[in-house]
Symmetry: C2
Subunit: 439 residues, 2 copies
Amino acid sequence: MSGEDARRAGPSRRHFLTSAVGAAAAGVAAIQGGGAARAAEPFHGPHQGGITTPQQRHSYFAAFDLTAARREDVAALLRAWTDAAARMARGEPAQPWDGGLRLAVPDRTASGDDGYAKPDAAAMAGDSGETAGLAPARLTVTFGFGAGLFEKDGMDRYGLAAQRPAALAELPRFVGDQLVPAQTGGDLSVQACADDPQVAFHAVRQLVRIADAAAQLRWVQSGFLADAGAAQTPRNLMGFKDGTNNPPTDDAATMAQFIWAGDEGPAWMRGGSYLVARRIRIAVEHWDRMRIAFQEQTFGRTKLSGAPLGGKSEFDAPDLDASDSDGNPVIAENAHIRLAAPTANDGARILRRSYSYNDGINLTAERWPPWRHELEYDAGLLFVCYQRDPRSGFSRIFERMAKFDMLNQFVTHVGGGLFACPGGAGEGEFIGQALFAAA
Amino acid sequence: MSGEDARRAGPSRRHFLTSAVGAAAAGVAAIQGGGAARAAEPFHGPHQGGITTPQQRHSYFAAFDLTAARREDVAALLRAWTDAAARMARGEPAQPWDGGLRLAVPDRTASGDDGYAKPDAAAMAGDSGETAGLAPARLTVTFGFGAGLFEKDGMDRYGLAAQRPAALAELPRFVGDQLVPAQTGGDLSVQACADDPQVAFHAVRQLVRIADAAAQLRWVQSGFLADAGAAQTPRNLMGFKDGTNNPPTDDAATMAQFIWAGDEGPAWMRGGSYLVARRIRIAVEHWDRMRIAFQEQTFGRTKLSGAPLGGKSEFDAPDLDASDSDGNPVIAENAHIRLAAPTANDGARILRRSYSYNDGINLTAERWPPWRHELEYDAGLLFVCYQRDPRSGFSRIFERMAKFDMLNQFVTHVGGGLFACPGGAGEGEFIGQALFAAA
C-alpha cells in the first residue's frame, strides 16, 4: 500500500503519519471492499438522493436539535454537511484526514500530551475511519428541515419563519399515538441509507462530529431490509411483503404529482419532498400467536404470495367490492390494504421507504389475557414515506387507518417526525441554500 | 407460484390455505432471494456451526433462562431447537407450516373466533414467515450451556450437576467490569449468524416461540460486520481492523490445541468449545476526538493498514522488543496488542468472532472535562470468543488487559456470559444429547 510505503521511507514519524494517512485515504475508492454493492449513488442533482433511489439494505436515521445561535452558523453547518455527504457518497472520508473542512470548534483546553487533539492539530482524527477500504455501498444522505428550524417556542430564531411551508404544519395527533418525546421531532433530519450498516452509521457519526456546537442528536434509529433481491418485495417483521403498492419511481409524471413539491409552496422547496417518519413498535410476540388466516384478513393480503385476498398475484389490484358466498367482503372493511388504498383516500399516494428495526427486548410485567408475557421485542418498523404534501398524503391516509385498521391491535406508533426535505444541490451548492438565500 | 395455483384451484378456502402454505413453504429453498449469499452452511457435523465457520455479516445473540421444571422438558427443548435450527440452516421454515413439531403448549383458553390460535389448530402460524423467499444466507445457530443448566441457587435442578465441566467455573470479576444483570448470564445461549439480519433474527424468534414454557429470553444483542470482503479484515467501530491475529481455522492441529475441548473434561463436551461473550460499550464520541497517532499507540497498530507499529503490513508479527531512538518501546507497554499477544500470555490463543452493535443513543448529563457531552452512543462490540478452556484462554489474557490496556479509557464491559457449547449433532441427534445420556 502506497501510504504504508511512504510511512516507512521517511525520517520523521509525525510528518509521515499525517501524509501517509492523507494519501491512503484519498485512494480509498481504489481499495474498495469485496462486497456486492460497489456502486456509488450520485449526490448532486435536482432532487436529493434517498427518495426515489432504489432502497438500500440498511438505514440510520437521525434527528437533530439545533443549538446554533445564529443563522449563518446553520448555513455553515448545512454547507459542511453537504460537502461531507457528497464526499462520503463517493466513498471518500467525510473530511480530508489532515483535518481540513471543519466548523469552528469550541476551545479545547487539553494539552497535546494527554492525547487529546487540539483543534488545529494537523494529525487530528477527522474521519473516524471505519469505512476505509469499504465500497460506497450506494450511500445516500437525505437532509430534512423540521418546524423548529423556522420557529421554536414561538421564536423566529433564524429569521426563517416567513419561509415555513404551510405543508410543514404540525401533524395532527392521531388516535392511538403514543409518541415518546425522546424519539419524536427534531429541527433537522438526516437519513443515511446504504447497503452496508457500517457505511450508514459512519455517515451520521461524521455529521454529528462535524455539527459540533451547531446541532446535537435528538433521536436515532437504525434499520434494515431483508435481502430479497431486486425482483421481490421484502417482507417486514410480520412476515408480509411491505411496499407492494408504491407509486412507480420511474414515472416522472406520477412523482411530480404525488412526491415532489411544486409551485404550491415556497420556491426553496421546489423539487423537494416531505418526509414523515414513524417509529412503529410491532407486538411480534403477540402477532406470532395468530392464525395465518387471521393475519391475512388483517392485512387483506395473502401472506406467502402477497396477493390481495381474492386476487392471484402480488401486483393485482385489490377488488374492494368483492364479497364471498355469505355476502361478506372478501377484503374486510377494516383490513389494512382497504384503508390504505388510493381509491379509499381520494387518490392519495405516498412513497413508502421503510426499514425494519430490531433494538432488542424489554422485559415487561404486562399480561394479555389469557397469556403471560415475560418479554417484548423492541422491534418493528421505522415507517418512512415521502410525499408532495403530508396533509393530502400521510395525514389523509392515516387519519382513518389510525381509527379503524385491524393492524392497530399489533402496532404502536411511539415516535417519529415530519421534515421538509428540500430539492437537491448542484455542484458547489449546499442543501437548503435557496432557503437561506430567499429569507 | 405453485402454492398460489393450488390455492386458486380449490373450493374450500380453509383447506387450501393450509395446504398451499405448506406446499409453498416446503419449496422455499427453490424460490430463494436475490442476495449474494445463497449458500447454506451444514448444520450437522462433529462441531457446531458458527465457530470456525467464516464469519457471517450479521448476528443475533440470545441468552435464555430455563423455566422448565423437569429434565426431560429441557431435553425436549434441545431436540426441538436442534430440529428447527437444522431446518432453518437449509432455508426451510423452523417448523412445517401446518403446525407440526411443537412442544407441549400450555392451555390457551381463547376461542377460535377472536383470531387467537388454539394449540391444535391446523392453520396455526408455525414459522412467522418473514424469511419466506430468502436464501439461507449461511445461517448458523450455535447453542451453549450456562452454569445454570447444571446448578442454580445451589440446586441441581435437572440432575446434571455432576456433569458440569471444571472449565465452566464462573468467570472472575475483572477490573473495571460494570456488568448489568439484565445483559449478563443465562442458562442457555443461542448465537444465530447469517449474511442477512432478517434471517438471523428470524432464527432466534422461532426458537423463542418453540421454547414456549421451557425457557424465556434473558438478554439479546444484534450485531453486524462491515462488508469488507473475504480478503480484508473488517474494521470495528473504532476504525481499526479487528481479528487480525486470530488462529487459523483451517489448521486442525491449532484448533484442537486451542479451540476444541478434548479429553480433559466430561465426554459430552468433546469437540465442543467454550464461548465467552462480552457486551463492550465503546465511547465512540470520546474516541473520535483523539489524534490518530494516539489511537495507534493505544492499539499498537497503524489505523489504516492494520500493521503493528514498527511493522509493515497487517499480518506482520508485532516486534514487542523494538524501541525507538529515545529508547522507548515502539509498541507501548500498555498497548492493546502487546497485552493480547500470545507471547505475553504463555502462548494463550482464543478464536475471536465478534460483531459491532449499534443500539442508538442515550442522553447523558455526564461531562468529561473539558468537554460537554449531550449524548452517548449505545454502540460498541459484542465481543465473542471461543476456546478450549476459558481459564487458560479469555480469563488468562483478559486479566492483565483489564488492568493495564490503554483501550480501557474508551471501553466498558457492560454484559456478557460464559457458555459451554457442546460438540455438533449428527443426523437424528440433538445438541447436548450426550450430556443427557451421560448424566
